[in-house]
Symmetry: C2
Subunit: 220 residues, 2 copies
DNA sequence: CTTGTATTAAAACGGTTGTTTAATACAGTT
DNA sequence: AACTGTATTAAACAACCGTTTTAATACAAG
């Protein structure tokens, strides 16, 4: 799928784009030099400005390209009408964790996107509209489904954040996390480890949602 | 307490330190220029190298200084023997949320520390040993207490991360979060909003821990 | 008043950055 | 074969960075 792109990076523009992505992901926008990218892409220093205008526009294109590749590689989960809410939640959590690839070096596409949302540029508004907002929406609907009774939008969003937070914490400060707790998931195969963590967060969240909902219902 | 420091920033070193903190917190290490700091501190450009050696050492001192101020301003929660585990958990969560100051611009000390743990330098090992590791330890003990039965260390750490993650998600990508969901906590006073969120995460976590523990017990 | 030392100030240095220029190579068209 | 527009290159540019140098100044000790 993306192999087509990898096997045919003939045009200088594509070579630059493919070289820029990982470097931007590793070092951020400011610490990345055009010369570095051009060397990796085997093109002249002037090529970036020739094809992309300036460094900022190249970064913009690289982020959008990363999003495009990531969307193609791990699509949103799908289910039929009969799938229970609990199973749908598990599919969601599995997808988030899989995209973030716990403890292993995440692919540059993911790292670049995380970098962008933590230091947002103008590029981020496009990501929010095409990606994050719909994602949060469907998760909120799922939470509403699990909660049963109709709940306050703010409340639903907070529950969604509680779920997402449990996943994202593993990518919040990966190096510091490893420094603090050592290598989580060091032995055994990652596949099974990820499965267990998915189970943990799913059950944790299901119980959490129900407890929080019944608690607030009792208060009102 | 820290007012003593604020009211007496006479020495150039302290003026530089107090000027550097917020700037480093706002723009990160690389995007901050020595000239900028010196202008804010009303000292000559050469002063940073004269008093601190180089830019990196100044950054190091600024981070440690921020940690020192933050520790003095919001100390760890304390309780007596009779405090139930659930209440202790609530105190912990309240402290984390208070330190992160949901949705409001966090103080520069917090932003600088978050910046350091997300882009760790050598300074971070000191923060981990003096701060994060003990913090995670006591939270793990608390989780063990709530779980009742003895549990696997890895499992305990994952439960701790599920709790912490629910809090940190609000600081993971604050601007993008606001772009996606709008201003959470826009009306009403923040004090009460923080209280409600603390309650939510506490009940969510308590139920989550118990559900996850009983689930894994059932599996073994 | 002189000496010695610590501080401040201005200026410059060497290096790197993003970007531009100008020359060259080359394909396609007439 | 001459022309035209695009692609590619080497070189240079101007700006800014962290750091150093050098000199002027302040000031306490003798």
């Amino acid at each position: 799928m993306a192999d087509l792109l990898d096997s045919a990076p003939q045009t200088p523009q594509m070579r630059i784009l493919l070289a820029a992505g990982p470097i931007f992901a590793d070092k951020g926008f400011r610490d990345t030099t055009i010369r570095e990218i051009c060397e990796a892409a085997s093109v002249n220093v002037a090529s970036v400005n020739y094809y992309f205008g300036d460094k900022q526009k190249l970064y913009h294109e690289a982020v959008l390209f990363a999003r495009q590749m990531q969307a193609a590689q791990s699509p949103e989960p799908s289910w039929d009408e009969s799938t229970p809410s609990a199973d749908r939640l598990r599919l969601f959590i599995a997808m988030i964790l899989k995209r973030m690839v716990v403890n292993e070096q995440a692919p540059w596409q993911v790292r670049l996107l995380l970098n962008e949302i933590q230091n947002p540029t103008e590029t981020c508004v496009q990501l929010v509209e095409d990606y994050f907002r719909p994602f949060m929406q469907s998760l909120a609907n799922l939470v509403r489904d699990i909660a049963g009774d109709p709940i306050d939008p703010l409340f639903a969003n907070q529950l969604v954040l509680s779920i997402v937070g449990q996943c994202m914490i593993y990518r919040f400060a990966p190096q510091t996390l490893t420094m603090t707790l050592g290598d989580l998931f060091e032995d055994q195969d990652r596949e099974q480890q990820l499965d267990r963590l998915t189970d943990l967060i799913t059950h944790f969240s299901l119980a959490g949602i129900r407890a929080a909902v019944s608690k607030t219902k009792r208060q009102t």
